[in-house]
Symmetry: C2
């Protein structure tokens, strides 16, 4: 394929998440080897997130044929329910990364997907249906599709809409995604498919992040020039060093940094672990595992911030930080432990569709 068919060559770029949306995409959780108790608690949590977002913008929930009737019954009427098969429920990572050009036309990147690491280190097999999700979203929206030549997930990037992207070395340079790919090649990919100019490399993601360290669980832009970072003040916690390293890299890149506390450490309980199916091709979570929680894993909806809370002491400070940094948006916290148990959070299960020019 020629370079001339990259998004960059056609003047497409990824808008910031806080730019106006036409809506939000989610995928209904279902697999019982990731979501405990037949995914019923997770479904309730996803429905609550969808309902919270739907107060501010249209939501489309992609659902398998098996779960179609149940999802339709559990979701608010305002949520559009559309059939789509998937291997799991991470719209951030398997969904299209939407783009706009200066005329306001909608397009999207369909990244290659290998379940965060392929046969050796990925989280499940197969992932063929997940790899079709982006194309299916773009078909439904009749939007131009750019199939990327490399593996990447939407959670591995955060753009400011003004030419800069945040990524982590632990994800983008891990050979479990794109064997043999160099830093320079990954930078070319980001420039060509996101329309960015500047790449800011952080190091590792938050501890125990199963994705290898997605940036969207560690830090995000508040606006161009300002980054919100999940912060740890406990020197005995592995995130202490990670968050300091991230801050120094961000400042070295000329970015201002705000802190949001990492949530009080949480762990998978015996009872929770007992509700997860055993599987030769799935996650096989064990009781006692630390959960990779972060308050930056929120979704910026039109006029709102939909953020996770966990019924832990740090929730209220997190709410205050978000409300202070987004004074024009309503901060809505949704109980998200059941999402966290599956390996991600609200940003991971959502995908914004930017507002295109009306026809």
């Amino acid at each position: 394929m020629s370079d001339t068919i990259t998004p960059r060559a056609q003047n497409y770029a990824m808008p910031a998440e806080w730019a106006p949306h036409d809506g939000c995409w989610m995928i209904w959780p279902e697999r019982p080897d990731n979501w405990r108790l037949g995914a019923k608690p997770a479904q309730a949590a996803f429905a609550a997130v969808a309902g919270a977002i739907a107060r501010f913008e249209p939501v489309t929930m992609l659902v398998s044929a098996r779960q179609f009737a149940n999802a339709r019954a559990m979701l608010p009427a305002a949520v559009r329910v559309v059939e789509a098969s998937s291997n799991d429920a991470w719209a951030r990572d398997t969904g299209a990364t939407f783009l706009l050009n200066p005329a306001g036309d909608l397009a999207g990147v369909d990244w290659m997907f290998n379940a965060w690491g392929g046969l050796g280190h990925g989280l499940y097999f197969p992932w063929d249906l997940d790899d079709q999700i982006a194309a299916k979203m773009l078909e439904i929206e009749k939007a131009k599709r750019f199939r990327a030549p490399k593996v990447l997930e939407g959670g591995a990037i955060h753009v400011d809409g003004a030419g800069t992207v945040l990524v982590t070395e632990s994800c983008l340079l891990d050979q479990n995604r794109n064997s043999g790919a160099t830093r320079a090649e990954m930078e070319t990919l980001l420039r060509d498919y996101l329309g960015v100019e500047k790449i800011v490399w952080l190091g590792a993601g938050v501890p125990h992040d199963e994705t290898g360290g997605h940036v969207d669980n560690l830090a995000c832009f508040v606006r161009p020039g300002l980054v919100l970072l999940s912060w740890c003040d406990d020197p005995s916690d592995p995130h202490y060093q990670i968050s300091r390293d991230a801050e120094s890299r961000l400042r070295a890149a000329g970015l201002a940094v705000e802190h949001i506390p990492m949530p009080t450490p949480m762990f998978l309980t015996d009872a929770e672990a007992a509700g997860i199916d055993h599987s030769p091709t799935g996650m096989n979570r064990a009781a006692g595992e630390r959960l990779a929680a972060s308050y930056v894993n929120f979704y910026a909806a039109n006029s709102a911030i939909i953020a996770p809370c966990f019924d832990v002491p740090t929730d209220s400070e997190a709410h205050s930080v978000l409300q202070r940094l987004f004074p024009d948006r309503q901060v809505v916290m949704v109980p998200a432990r059941e999402i966290l148990l599956g390996g991600g959070n609200i940003h991971c299960i959502t995908q914004q569709q930017p507002r295109k020019a009306r026809e």
Copy 2:
């Protein structure tokens, strides 16, 4: 449920098929116990129909997850491909019957569906996915859904958009759809859900029609007051009497009638029958069966008539009749024997979505 939530109560009615469309819906054929040779010849025929319609209006093809990649590859780029599970491929019968109100808002009827006759006389089991198709279409289009309280198929009705509907007694009064339902109750259903005033009852459909005699294989409106009837001049053919009975009923209802010849009789060949899977729950077609062919089983697209041809002597006269009756539309004939082998034709596999008011 209260009568006040019928389409009629909210000023919705079904437009005529020749009214402007926003597009057309189809379903990809797949089941090998209905479509010979693993449905590959039928898929090629459906793709040709989709391509012909797509020259005149947008087409959405609903496709199972299994066939998604294949359908995407076989269909023209202009055709939108959207995942939806189904039991078979009859968008006319399982799809939503779209409605408009005077403000131009889109809605749709989601008829109950029982595979043209239920457990006793239906064509296959199960039909649960087919019964979800209409709801899925309406979700995708974010259109209001009216779930009807009775079984009906879109092929069992033809409206003129001016208050009159054509139906057949052989379908609507057959107790295999709505056990115990009276003629008066079916008329109430049609008035409430299609927004019509006058019901014109024909008798039987064309011979060997597996639906029990859908009107859309027998006759259709050309415009209000004028009906096109599939006609037979051979007194030894069972359609001779059927077409005469239909004509007399139409004239008695004050309608003018034009004739279109029925196609030269065609039969399922040994080779064709040998390509169909045996199945305990499917059609189990046998070589030598007469095929229920009709030229009125066409689709009225924006500015075009997409009609079946069969490579038989009657094709050219049928083309002439259609072009004479629709002088402002381009008549495009598509080879349709492979569709006919599955039990229907172009009208049966299409569903128009009328043009709604722009937002």
